[in-house]
């Protein structure tokens, strides 16, 4: 036996070696496991799949609790490429009622990254959207034969009333821009979001809150179970229902009246600012923008030259014409420019220093109330001239004009009213800067801008602003911001809709204006609105426009002493206010206050059948399909079938409402 004790010491080298190695490893493990937190995150990213569970979207009711918009489940046939096994293509085609060729085409497109941007071996690809109940039934039975194919439920919107598309809006899949702007990171590709109307402006409430499911996913992306048995999952919260302030039957009635016409009706409940009807014409059936055909229909609507997607009630800025006159009367009274006994001469118009504004036959000289009754142009020209020329009171025309402008803004003109719908126009009220720039500093005077006193010239207003003015007068001096949603169920009304906005004119000055507007109905320009038993007050407007025949405008409210409805009717290129604006306004008021009656209905039908739109540019010629049954609006019959009144085609050019594009003042 050799035992070399020198060599035995070498055990310390070998032992030391492994001890050092283990020590290094322990140190490394400490770094990996204790000191560095990044691996925990990486592990979670690896293993956990966060899947959204979708709440049901809030439904929409009208002010009388009629259900307007509701959800309906539809079914999509999807497949996960990874899980698909060879299957009987012929049988699947037969089940789907699809030709083999069609199927092959779709199949190759879906399974190619170049043609299908969302392609991934592990995620759902949609083979067929919105299966009919028939298809659904047939496929459901046979699904076991096709591993990798699944049926998923989606929600689409359905409509009980096929009106009010401009108010309701619709829903669509989020696009790249939506995702970019979504700083809170709520949306994921494939989610739905509201587009247009309250679907857009109340998206936050309607959508509810998505839930979260946390699932285990293995290295190839297969789902392997629920994380912590679902303990960390978050249940979805259903969206809030909306209760509109809209009276859906009044809305329907209004849309019927506006058939074959271009324009808008806005009806407001003065006491609350609630919008009762918001009609734009031409319009479309909201159900067109649902489901499979959405894309196609949207393209058709957006290229239609009558612009059915353009909501004339809030997006179009028109010259308000004579409906503007009450505002002038109010300012003159408040500023002491006139009193009720002040009269101005009208020799078939306003003539001064070469400036001429025409008028029609009535007595002269004339005081404020009769001037409103007869819609005398000269009276208001004189009044404005007197105010702007009063240098001793205001210092200069510019300062006087500035004050005038502030009055107008306090009455809701010149800026957005901030109705709860997207895309509202601000109209236009010029200011001193505007005229200084357009005409040169000190190059303009009361006389050169005199047409603004009768709602012409540069003045532009939306039908909503005009209706709001009517509500302000009905309220004798204040308004609530007009809104179409009466209540977010469960949340109440938005606070900004409960605040009164007072104008700069004292309540007492409204009385004579109301009286003047009443006189216009009883014995003036609005006689067609004189409905027995309803004290209607009104003001016509015949707005000249550079694009064609005058627009017919009516502004009014009723009853006089307990106003329940304030209204503005705007019909493009329809001539005198009295010819279309007044009768349509009267029908609306009667319908709202007295309810439906056979007599009213027949008068309404006659109005609906009257054409002001150029026949060649009517909507019904556009083929818009909706799941098989072609429903288009305004329908009302084929062109020329029922047209008691002579077509006014000779005067009508292509309607071109002036779309406000930001030439507003910078204040």
């Amino acid at each position: 036996m050799r035992k070399d004790y020198n060599l035995e010491k070498r055990k310390y080298v070998i032992g030391g070696f492994i001890v050092v190695i283990v020590a290094i490893y322990v140190f490394r493990l400490f770094n990996l496991q204790v000191a560095d937190a990044q691996y925990k995150d990486s592990a979670q990213n690896n293993a956990l799949l966060y899947r959204s569970s979708y709440p049901s979207r809030g439904q929409i009711y009208d002010r009388n609790d009629s259900l307007v918009v509701y959800n309906e489940p539809v079914y999509d046939l999807v497949f996960v490429p990874m899980d698909v096994e060879p299957f009987d293509t012929v049988d699947l085609c037969a089940t789907l009622r699809m030709s083999r060729r069609e199927f092959d085409d779709k199949w190759t497109k879906l399974n190619d990254k170049r043609t299908n941007r969302n392609y991934s071996l592990y995620t759902q690809q949609t083979l067929m959207q919105h299966l009919t109940p028939d298809d659904y039934g047939r496929i459901q039975e046979k699904l076991y034969k096709y591993p990798g194919f699944y049926i998923v439920q989606r929600i689409i919107r359905q409509y009980n009333y096929h009106v009010g598309a401009n108010i309701l809006g619709n829903i669509r899949e989020v696009n790249d821009r939506d995702l970019e702007r979504d700083s809170a990171g709520y949306y994921a590709p494939g989610d739905y979001t509201g587009d247009l109307g309250v679907e857009k402006s109340y998206e936050r409430w309607l959508r509810g809150r998505k839930g979260k499911e946390i699932l285990f996913r293995d290295a190839v992306g297969k789902i392997k179970g629920r994380y912590k048995d679902g303990a960390m999952d978050v249940a979805p919260i259903a969206g809030n229902d909306l209760k509109l302030s809209i009276d859906i039957e009044l809305q329907q009635f209004g849309e019927h009246l506006m058939e074959h016409k271009i324009g808008a009706i806005v009806a407001i409940e003065p006491k609350t600012g609630e919008v009762l009807a918001l009609v734009t014409s031409p319009n479309y059936d909201p159900a067109l923008l649902v489901g499979k055909e959405r894309g196609k229909n949207y393209a058709l609507l957006s290229t239609d030259k009558n612009k059915p997607l353009f909501d004339r009630s809030i997006q179009a800025a028109y010259p308000p014409g004579s409906t503007f006159k009450p505002t002038q009367g109010l300012i003159f009274l408040q500023e002491g420019v006139v009193d009720l006994s002040t009269t101005f001469p009208c020799a078939r118009g306003f003539h001064f220093g070469g400036m001429k504004v025409g008028c029609h036959g009535h007595g002269s000289p004339i005081a404020l109330k009769p001037a409103l009754q007869t819609s005398c142009n000269a009276y208001f020209c004189w009044g404005l001239k007197r105010m702007l020329d009063n240098k001793s009171k205001y210092g200069s025309t510019a300062q006087a004009f500035d004050l005038w402008k502030r009055y107008m803004v306090s009455m809701g003109y010149g800026y957005r009213l901030d109705i709860d719908l997207p895309g509202e126009s601000r109209g236009f009220i010029p200011n001193v800067n505007y005229y200084d720039k357009m005409r040169g500093k000190d190059q303009w005077s009361a006389l050169s801008i005199i047409s603004i006193s009768i709602g012409q010239g540069e003045i532009l207003a939306t039908p909503l602003q005009i209706a709001n003015l009517s509500a302000t007068i009905a309220n004798r001096g204040y308004f609530y911001t007009p809104h179409v949603v009466k209540e977010i169920v469960g949340e109440g009304i938005l606070k900004r809709f409960t605040e009164r906005h007072y104008t700069m004119v004292d309540t007492s000055y409204y009385r004579p204006i109301v009286e003047g507007m009443r006189m216009a109905v009883t014995g003036g320009t609005c006689r067609k609105a004189n409905i027995p038993g309803l004290e209607v007050c009104g003001k016509t407007g015949t707005a000249q426009n550079p694009h064609g025949k005058d627009h017919s405008v009516f502004m009014g409210f009723a009853p006089m002493n307990d106003p329940k409805i304030a209204i503005c009717v705007f019909v493009e290129n329809a001539g005198f206010g009295a010819s279309f604006g007044v009768p349509i306004g009267a029908l609306m008021i009667e319908r709202y206050l007295n309810g439906d009656s056979p007599g009213l209905q027949s008068r309404a039908n006659a109005m609906a059948a009257t054409w002001t739109m150029t026949r060649s540019s009517t909507m019904p010629t556009t083929e818009i399909s909706r799941g098989g049954n072609a429903a288009t609006k305004p329908a009302g019959g084929t062109p020329g079938a029922t047209a008691p009144a002579a077509p006014r085609g000779e005067a009508a050019t292509v309607p071109n409402p002036q779309i406000q594009t930001g030439h507003g003042t910078k204040e």
Partner: protein, 490 residues
């Protein structure tokens, strides 16, 4: 003779090193439990002992291992010694046959298949090689002194390496290099270990810092030059024990360094090769002249070592690019952090790090690890089993497992040193060396400190061959150790 045998059998149970048996039992059972956790399926989970599960099968192998182990204890120790060479010869033959008849599985031909059963002879060749090496050293008069003795010992170690490389199982072949520890313990110059260490350090440095340049040469080469210079000085001072030579060379190096620094500061381009060539060359010439006044052999060794180091340093790049295969180059580069490739070459290690790192201090709890269960870590129940421990039992679990292994290895070394025979001692050191290599490389690769070399973690990794191979290795040692008290009685 028979009487003594009886005595031996009776005392056997008392003589067996039970501590080792207990460590072995803990490790294999912990291994099977880890395998259950690694292959646990959320959707269908059957019992840990079900034969449908890998863990169930592993428990079966473990049961059989104990049978094998205790059978091995019953065999007379002298048989191991007597048949060491025949066993070794048979094993080599089996390895060669395997290389030719085995089916190709993932590029390697190391599995022999008999119907439903397959086994890997390479796992058992370790035992045979250890026995043969022990037998060699216990041969009367054998000492690791001359070339012949090195050649014989080297051949015994190299033969299985060549056979296993023939089977294209490079990882398993590398295990035998660990037997260098045995040679060291039995008298091989420590200089070999030192040279091996230097070689590894040079290799890593040259590759790791190849991308940046300093003084016109690669940073890696620059650093290695500096290290060589430092080591020359250190060797002169501590190995040759020549204060004067060490001091002179050190001063010379510092002078040259300062000169070069000054020139660079003045804007002169000093080429690195020129600088180091002149500096080291001058010192070598000085040493060759001066050595006649000193311990000639040791100074000459130092000079030869220095020149060999420089040659090795320059051959690293060539060897790396031309000798190693593509995937091996990549694995080394990933380990050294030269390339980052978490999707392909680095995938295993990256996922393994994530799995272990997610464990934290206490771990996610048994069966609560997500990474291994969801198959993010490949080879999770075999080579990468340590991930499951890291993920589910955390830092604490890892330290406990490493501690158990360390205890086992140190215990085996303790057993080795108490042997009265060279045969027992050498065999025990073989066992310790092989365990050291497996532990260091397997855990090292899982935590990203070693290139990926596919060898199992002893007792833990799933597989009958591996488990039984280590069982053979360990229980033969226990049998040899159990009769150490009888030394002199036979």
């Amino acid at each position: 003779m028979e009487l003594r045998n009886d005595n031996e059998n009776k005392s056997l149970l008392r003589q067996v090193d039970w501590l080792t048996v207990v460590l072995y039992a803990i490790l294999v059972i912990a291994g099977a439990v880890s395998i259950y956790a690694a292959t646990y399926n959320y959707e269908r989970s059957s019992s840990m002992f079900s034969l449908d599960e890998f863990s169930g099968k592993q428990f079966l192998w473990i049961g059989l291992s104990f049978v094998i182990g205790f059978s091995l204890l019953l065999i007379d120790r002298r048989l191991y010694e007597a048949y060491a060479y025949p066993i070794y010869a048979a094993m080599i033959l089996l390895l060669i046959i395997t290389a030719f008849v085995a089916p190709d599985i993932k590029g390697s031909r190391s599995w022999l298949t008999f119907g439903p059963v397959s086994m890997q002879p390479a796992e058992f060749a370790k035992t045979a090689t250890a026995l043969a090496l022990a037998k060699l050293f216990s041969t009367y008069g054998f000492q690791l002194k001359d070339f012949k003795s090195y050649a014989i010992a080297g051949t015994i170690i190299l033969l299985p390496i060549l056979c296993i490389i023939l089977e294209r199982e490079t990882g398993s072949a590398l295990v035998y290099t660990s037997l260098i520890f045995v040679l060291y313990r039995e008298g091989m110059s420590g200089f070999v270990l030192f040279a091996a260490l230097c070689a590894i350090v040079y290799f890593v440095l040259v590759l790791k810092f190849a991308a940046t340049a300093i003084m016109g040469i690669e940073l890696g080469i620059f650093i290695v030059f500096i290290i060589i210079m430092a080591l020359i000085v250190a060797m002169l001072l501590f190995y040759c024990r020549s204060f004067i030579l060490g001091r002179n060379v050190l001063l010379g190096y510092l002078g040259c360094g300062l000169l070069a620094w000054g020139l660079i500061a003045l804007g002169v381009n000093v080429n690195g090769y020129l600088f180091f060539g002149l500096t080291i060359g001058a010192s070598v010439i000085y040493l060759l002249i001066a050595m006649f006044h000193d311990d000639l052999r040791k100074v000459l060794t130092t000079v030869i070592w220095a020149l060999a180091s420089i040659v090795f340093m320059f051959s690293v790049n060539y060897a790396f690019n031309n000798v190693l295969q593509d995937h091996q180059q990549k694995r080394i580069k990933v380990t050294l952090g030269i390339v980052d490739d978490p999707k392909f070459t680095g995938y295993n290690v990256n996922q393994a790090k994530i799995a272990i790192g997610s464990g934290g201090i206490m771990g996610n709890g048994f069966l609560n690890g997500t990474q291994t269960k969801l198959k993010f870590v490949p080879e999770q129940h075999t080579d990468f089993i340590f991930c499951t421990i890291g993920e589910e039992e955390g830092f604490i679990g890892c330290v406990v497992v490493l501690g158990l292994f360390l205890a086992l290895i140190l215990r085996v070394m303790h057993i080795a040193e108490r042997q009265h025979t060279a045969f027992g001692r050498v065999y025990a050191y073989c066992v310790a060396s092989i365990l050291i290599f497996h532990l260091a490389v397997n855990v090292g690769m899982v935590i990203g400190l070693c290139p990926v070399i596919g060898i199992p973690l002893p007792f833990f990794s799933y597989g009958g061959s591996s488990l039984w191979g280590f069982t053979f290795l360990l229980f033969i040692l226990l049998r040899i150790d159990a009769s150490r008290a009888d030394y002199g009685n036979w």
